[in-house]
Structure formats: structure tokens, C-alpha cells
Symmetry: C2
Subunit: 336 residues, 2 copies
DNA sequence: ATAGTTAATAAAACCGGTTTTGCAAGTCAA
DNA sequence: TTGACTTGCAAAACCGGTTTTATTAACTAT
């Protein structure tokens, strides 16, 4: 019951295995192999249910048809959805995806990249933690396709697919102001990652344009939800005049909503709420939560196409593309 | 800048590559290779930063150190968390995980299994759709380790890690009854999968034990959330006496909560709510939603250990283990 | 002294493909 | 009619490892 190999076919038909290989790869004509023999081999392979070993193929071609998807945490709502869409796209092109979570730890990320290199994956889709510029550069130097997303490395030019975070928060704040909010806070993370900085910039820009006073709370990535809730409760107590909050991630928003509930404040009468990055459940809340939505399928599509182009087109390795996708401000009941 | 191979090392040191292989694999002693040569090779490899090709290794050993994780949908809250925990466990043992989503489509599942077979993954962790008994049996016949989870195939004995679904719903209903509910509905899916049937059975058992009348609404897996909300709204209108609902999945619960909100009913005064499968956001709702929690990390641990045992221990392939994990009823404000 | 061990390593076969090179027979042109 | 070119396929090399078998020199026992 063991799988049959190209050698078995060659032996059983009394044909050289190179010939069999050519025929099975559609190079029969090019290699001037008789129609007769070609047919014989094809029929035999078909009837025997021959499946070439991807492993052997990879070893000789150097292509594994595998893509590394390295994200912060695969269980995160955003990343797991990106993973879902990427899988569908990869599938159509014969690629498989291996995922891994960095937990935002540069050491872990480095180690993971090293492992994937020995596995010779064909390309990388990465949400980089800080300080892995060197490893990313190594990949690029070895002509391995890399596309970053969600955040990028300012000092290392690479292909990148990301949201227009700046515009996302800017527009959200503009909307809040237009709807009458006067005291708008931003709850974000104490993070140096580009997407967070951009979100902060967008907020600041809109606030300043309207000559309002900025008010920013910075939580910590590692914190448990309870800690963040506490932090937000205290923040709201200390700043009782806040009439709108923009949350820089959906998890911060969830903690924030809990904090608002605990304080017995009403959304949106007492306080308007907008979350960055939409979440399935935002629509369920009462009132439903407005969000700056990231078009996840579009992001996945751009990621995959960018990578695929580099995988199939050597020339493409030399160009560096930045693809910036516009967010959608989805207004629901949590804003006036 | 190309990677150096075992051949390069052998050539540069004027040593047979078999010798190098033995030394690098710690078989120097066993193969009676001089301490001197051994040291020379090890030092050279170390300083040259030699990394053996996993591909070549796989081809000759037949082991790829890869595991296929086949779930219904990788973006699902439950599955993405299982994926997360599995990754951490696999990492420690040198395994990598390739995921794929079946969308509950047997044809897609079959195709995926075929692809993974040509890639020679070492083992499979699968949430099977119905009607893929034949393919699972084929895997087992070829001595490939397979562990099912979440649901199993009644006609095909395999290793399995799953929740005690029956007890989960049974206890939840018992709790509702003890808290005073008289008219308890179950909202579930129109699905023949074992986990759904078990949840239904547990509900029925508790209902009957207390001589209550069962009331079951069956939604459809493929439905959009809006459709499910509508269905639930109508159901609640048609059955105004319902004072408690048990939702058989967390997505059904989310739709249900929306339906309840739309009808202006109060949780838990008008209607108590318990969801099967806990969700990060349940704690955020006001009131927070009670749930029958699946110990995800424990499930992942059992899955991985079961698989690993079969991967490393030939004998273990012959035994079939069913591991049933007890759920935890997490009571929050949505029940009285 | 000679066969039999053993130590230490080299050589070769194998895993299952792809790709380059080789070769015999037939065809064509000079 | 003979060298050059094509046809159609076989043979071999290669990808980078693991594992089995072979070889040689020194050592031991008879």
C-alpha cells in the first residue's frame, strides 16, 4: 500500500524516469517525446493514481509552495480573519500557509524566522515586532519575498500593505467633533509600532485643527483585560468632562465599554464611542459600537497579490510597493 | 551567500559526508568516530552557522515535522484559540502547523486531505465535516496519526478529544431550572454533527427530568447573522412565555442577544441567557453573559499530547483514545 | 605467522523528484 | 556516401540529507 514513485512508473513501463518526468510535467512536446509513449505514461499514471511527492519536488526545485504567516497572535480577531482570507487565496494558487505568533517578542520572531528559513518557505507575510530590521534585511538580501502588514519598520524599506491609520482616526475625530463632542479622548497603547503612532497622529491632527485639547491614555499591550478596565475607569473619573472616546484597538474598546458600563455612563448620551478595527460583536451591543473598519479581505488580497507577484516574477523582487488601504468609518449607535 | 550543505562541509574538511552526518546527529560515539575529528567538524559547523535543510532531512527520513490542523473556519473564535495554543505546544517539540478551513464542506475536506498527503505531513488534527469517514479511514490504514476534536465520526473509531457536551447543556438547564426558569428554549443549529446532537440531548434530558416541555429552534450554519437574528426575533414573538434561552454556540448567542435587545426584553429579568462556548466579549456585555466554557488550552494540550504520542511511539498507533473534557459553567449576570 | 577483530572512516545507496548530457538511428544536404 | 543535423529517448548528475555497506590499518588471539 506504499505510494508509488516516479521510479516505479519508469520501471514498470520500461522507460527512463526523466522521460516520465517530462511527460507528467507537460514538457512532452518540447522534449520531442512521441505522442504514443506520452499517452501510455499519462494513462498509467492516471490509473495508478500517481501523486508526485511535494517533498522531492521541493528539494530539487527549491520551491516549497509554502508561505509563512507571522502575526502578533493568531487568535486575535483581526489576524485570524486575515489568516482565513489568505488561506483561501493561497489555496487557489497551490500555496499552503504556516502560521506563527510572535507575541510581539523580537527574540521569538528572530527564532521563528530562523526556523522557517531552514524549512525554506517561499515567502513571508509578517507583522513585525520592533527591532527585527536585521533579520528582515537578511531575508531581502537573500532574495526572499517579504511583505509586511499592519505595521512596518521605518528604517527598513520593504513591501507593505497597511491601513491609512492616520486618516482613520482623523476622520473619526472629525466626525465626533461635527456631531458635537468637545472633549475627545484617545485610548491607545504605549507602543512604538507605526500603526499606533499613525493613529495617534491622526487624532492629534484633527484635535489641533479644531483647537481642542488633546487627551491621551496609554495602556500596556501585556495587560490583562481587567487591568485595562481599571485603568480606563480611573481615567474617566479623573477626566469627567470627556464626552467622546476613540479607542485605538478593538480590545481597548471592549475594556473601555466595560469601564463605561461600570461607571453607569450612557453611550452615546454621556459619552460617544468609536473603536479602531471593527469586530463582529460591535453590532450586537446596545447601542451598537461605531468603528473604523479595516477591509480585511482587501488587505489579505493585496498582501497575497504582492507576495505572489514576487514569487512568480523575479523582476518584481526589485521594486518596493507600499499599499495603503482606506478604512471605512462604520457609524452605529455609539456616536451621535 | 548561498547556504552551505553537508557536502560543502565534507569537502572543505576532507571528510566523508556520512561521517559529518553522524557527528552532527550526535552519533559520533556510537559510530566510533574519534573525539578529535568530531570536535573539528562540530566547530567548523558551528562557526560556519550550518543549518541542515529540513527539506532534505524530510525526504530521507519521511518525517516533515509538520502537522495539519483542519478546522471548520480558522477565523472562528474557538478554533483560532485552539490554533494559538497548539502552535505554542508544537513549537516546543519542533513541529510546525499548517492550518486549513473546511467550511464544513466534505468535498473541500477531501481535497485538502489529498493535498496534505502529497505534502506528507506527519499527523492530522481535524474537526471533521460529515461524510469523510472514508478518507479518515484511509489515513488510519496508512498508519498516519489522526486526532479528531470538537465532533467525531460515529461510524469511524478514532482518537478524539472533545467536550462533555451533554453534561454542558444538561447542567446549564439544571441551573436555569434551579434559578426559577419554567420555559427554557434551546437555540441550536440544524446540524447532524455529534457535538450539536450531544448538546441537544443534554438539554432534552434535563428538560424531561423536570417534566418541562422542550422548545427548540434550529438555525442554519450557512446563515448570515442578520438572518439568524430575524429567526430568533420571530421565535421569541411566537413563544412569548419563554423565560430562558440556552444557545448552542456563541455565535447563535450573539444573534440571540441582538434579537432580545431588539424586542426590548431585559436580561435576565424577562429572559435568562446562557451560551455554549465562552467568548472574550461575553464579559463585556451588560449584563455579562453566562456561558458553558470549553477549556481551550486543556483541549489543545490533550490534542497535542495524543498526537505526539502517536508520532513518537509506533505502538501507540494501535490504541484508540477518547478524551472527554468537562466544561465549566461560568455564571455571570445573564442568569438569575 | 596468519587469521580474525576492532577502530575509524570512506564510499555508496537511497529518498523522489528535475534537469543536463549522452547516444543510437534516421534524415538531409553536399 | 559521408558528415551534420534531427528525433526520441536513456543515462547520469543534482538537490541535501540518512543509513547501510565497504575499506584499511592496527591489534589480538592461536
Amino acid at each position: 500500500m506504499k505510494k508509488l514513485s516516479i521510479n516505479d512508473i519508469a520501471r514498470q513501463l520500461n522507460v527512463a524516469k526523466s522521460t516520465v518526468s517530462f511527460i507528467l510535467n507537460g514538457k512532452a512536446e518540447e522534449k520531442r517525446i512521441s505522442r504514443e509513449l506520452s499517452k501510455k505514461v499519462l494513462e498509467f499514471a492516471e490509473q495508478a493514481g500517481y501523486r508526485p511527492s511535494q517533498l522531492a519536488k521541493s528539494l530539487s526545485t527549491g520551491k516549497t509552495q509554502m508561505i509563512c504567516l507571522m502575526v502578533e497572535k493568531i487568535s486575535d480577531h483581526f489576524f485570524s480573519h486575515i489568516a482565513y482570507h489568505l488561506e483561501a487565496l493561497a489555496y487557489k494558487s497551490g500555496y499552503k500557509i504556516i502560521y506563527c505568533s510572535t507575541e510581539n517578542d523580537p527574540d521569538k520572531a528572530r527564532e521563528l524566522i530562523s526556523v522557517f528559513r531552514t524549512r525554506q518557505v517561499d515567502g513571508y507575510i509578517i507583522t513585525p515586532p520592533v527591532n527585527i530590521d536585521a533579520e528582515i534585511r537578511d531575508l531581502l538580501n537573500d532574495n526572499l519575498p517579504v511583505v509586511l502588514f499592519d505595521r512596518y519598520l521605518p528604517d527598513t524599506p520593504t513591501d507593505y500593505v497597511g491601513l491609512d491609520n492616520y486618516n482613520g482616526t482623523r476622520e473619526a475625530v472629525e466626525h465626533l467633533i461635527a456631531a458635537g463632542s468637545k472633549r475627545i479622548a484617545l485610548v491607545t497603547l504605549n507602543s512604538g509600532q507605526t500603526q499606533m503612532l499613525e493613529r495617534l497622529s491622526g487624532y492629534m491632527a484633527a484635535i489641533k485643527r479644531h483647537k481642542l485639547k488633546p487627551l491621551v491614555l496609554k495602556g500596556h499591550f501585556e495587560d490583562e483585560m481587567e487591568a485595562t478596565v481599571k485603568l480606563t475607569v480611573q481615567f474617566l473619573k479623573d477626566n469627567a468632562d470627556v464626552d467622546a472616546i476613540l479607542f485605538a484597538t478593538n480590545y481597548l474598546a471592549l475594556s473601555g465599554i466595560k469601564a463605561i458600563n461600570e461607571l453607569g455612563l450612557n453611550i452615546p448620551t454621556d459619552i460617544a464611542v468609536i473603536a479602531f478595527d471593527d469586530h463582529d460583536v460591535f453590532n450586537i451591543f446596545n447601542p451598537p459600537i461605531s468603528a473604523i473598519a479595516q477591509p480585511r479581505e482587501e488587505i489579505a488580497k493585496q498582501l497575497f497579490n504582492t507576495l505572489l507577484d514576487k514569487l512568480e516574477n523575479k523582476e518584481s523582487l526589485k521594486v518596493v510597493r507600499k499599499i495603503i488601504i482606506q478604512p471605512k468609518l462604520v457609524l452605529r449607535g455609539s456616536t451621535r
